[in-house]
């Protein structure tokens, strides 16, 4: 499965990428919103893991933009953020999120999310 990780924290990217690769997924990382939109047009991910706090465009804007793009309009976008307030989560779903996991998450949580969309896809 092709997974696009949009995350600017290199340490998170490090473990996440390692974990997803071990699970035999095709992982591409974008460090900001603009980059992620460019990559997604070419890469056409089956799943997007999206951080909210990003340099430049924030996660909500990225999500809205992806939903408008032909290539990614149907791609499930899973938010992963340290923000756990209800209004933050609500805003994500309004922007078109498929799921929302609060940082810090355990590898098990991440695995179960990925499995969910693997089956669905």
């Amino acid at each position: 499965m092709k997974i696009l990780v949009v995350e600017d924290e290199k340490n998170i990217v490090l473990s996440l990428k390692m974990m997803l690769k071990k699970l035999d997924h095709d992982v591409v990382v974008a460090k900001n919103g603009v980059e992620s939109l460019e990559i997604s047009r070419v890469f056409r991910p089956d799943l997007v893991l999206l951080d909210i706090v990003l340099p430049g465009m924030d996660g909500y804007l990225v999500c809205q933009a992806m939903k408008k793009e032909h290539e990614t309009a149907r791609t499930p976008i899973v938010f992963m953020s340290a923000m756990s307030r209800e209004e933050d989560i609500k805003k994500a779903y309004q922007a078109g999120a498929a799921d929302y996991i609060v940082k810090p998450f355990t590898p098990e949580q991440m695995k179960s999310i990925i499995e969910k969309y693997l089956k669905g896809g």
């Binding site: 490090l14 996440l16 390692m18 974990m19 340290a82 923000m83 307030r85 998450f105 590898p107």
Partner: protein, 611 residues
Amino acid sequence: MKNSIRVKIITVFVFLFVVLGTISIWSILNFRRLSDAIEAIMEANYQSVVSAQIMTVALERQDSAELASIFSTGDSASEIFTSNQNEFLKALSRAEDNITETKEPAILSELNELYADYVNEYYVLLAIAESRGIQEASSYYYNSILPLFENVKKLTRDLLTVNQEAMLSKRNRALEVARNASFSTALISSFAIFLGFIFSIYLTAKTVRPITMLIEKIKLIAQGDYRQQLQEKGRDEIAELSKEFNIMAGRLKAFEEMNIQKLMEEKRKAEGIVESIGDVVLVTDSENRILVLNRAAEKVFDIRKEEAVRTHFLESIRYEEVFEQVKKTLKGQQEGDKGYADVSIEENGSTRHFRVKSKPIKNEQKEIVGVVTLLQDITKLKEVDAMKSEFVSTVSHEFRTPLTSMGMAVNLLLDGTSGETNEEQKELLQAIKEDQERLNSLVGDLLDLSRIESGKIQMDIQPNELKEIVDNAMRPFTIQLKENDIDLRVELPDKLPRVKADFNKISWVLTNLVGNAIRYVSKDGSGKITVTARKTVNKLLVSVTDNGIGIPEDMQEKIFEKFVRADESPGGTGLGLAISREILLAHGGEIWVSSKQGSGSAFYFTLYCVG
């Protein structure tokens, strides 16, 4: 004390007795005079009257005997004459012994003379009758004796008349005496009664007047006029009473003045306190009229004290939200209510936030007679709160990102994804993992607490079955309990009323309490935890009891504070009970612990029942 009321009363009685005695003596004297008059009549005239009558009868019998002796021979007539002569003489001598009237001696001496002649004539007649015959004797009788007889008879009649007249005149005198006695007795009695009446009225009035005055003055004192004083004339009981009364009135007056002074002082103090309070203070009565307001209130509501006092609340202060709080308090509907309301008020173009708190004023009968309302300016607090919230949110976000990468990295190392690790390395990684998890929950709890404290998390208080909340709260423990040998029991009575609670928050509290209990009970099979509940007046009392290590007494209150933990055992953030307390406070409930070191703890919390 000599001239006492007792003496006065006795004087009145003695006076009346004297009057009564005088009247009695006067009457007795009068009776005596009357009886003397009657006695006089009896003694002086009655005897003479009787004698005169006897003489008349005897004389007439003698006359008959005389006539008889003319026409008959024999001694019988002569005997009659003689015996009647004796009668006559006896009566005559009795009359002579009883001379009372002035005319009596003359009549009696004449009678004596004439009767002696009359008796002599009888013997002359007898001699004539014997010597000259009946004819001659009868002629002699008619010519000489009969006139004599008539004269004697007339004299006896005179005697009778004289005495009878005397009797009549004496009777008249007695009547006069009686009349005089009646008159004088009546006069003296009237006079004495009149005098006694006047004297009694005078003395009674004199005795009672001070008492009447005392009553009047006491009435005035009872009405609060302590200036009353009584005259202290004389030395009687009343004077004594007046003296004591004056002392009492004086003391009362001093006492009242002292009280008034104290009250005024207290009033000034209270006013000073109310004025100096920076918060808005409003006092309203049972009709919601403004009684007291301070300078802060004038400023915030832009009103003048002089105009606002005595007006209806809404007339002067047009803030419905504030008034709602006052109304609620007056009705006593604060149960289960958070007890305050936050309102925003525009003041000089800027918005200020106030926390409105009301407390009822109760009288001795526990009835609500008024309301004290306090408006605390929480504008600064709100700003600080917002800053704190923002700060905590930022900090936790900043914490969570590195925590995420740390957690994932440790997990990847531990599950061997990136190559095998030896036992020692695994142990170290496990330690990192545990502390990473601890930091995780600490950050989570901190965030929760800050939100509850700032009121950002709204309680979704709905009627709920306690059993459902408990069941939900126990779910996370089912696996944990199988691993650890702990006896966890839920013993809820049937038919518990529903509670007013936020399902998830109270469930969280129970999970937290049971989680704590599991941490502190023995894992060797003797550990026991019981969740139970019972109904009190209008609340449910829920308890979580364990037989764990217990909590030292000095820690029992502190454990509800932030970051306070009863011991250094692993796990737990030190925030669970602080969050639980915040949640229950937001429900209008309470949480507390009862514990004995070594034998276990019992955590209690209360929730309002529905209805």
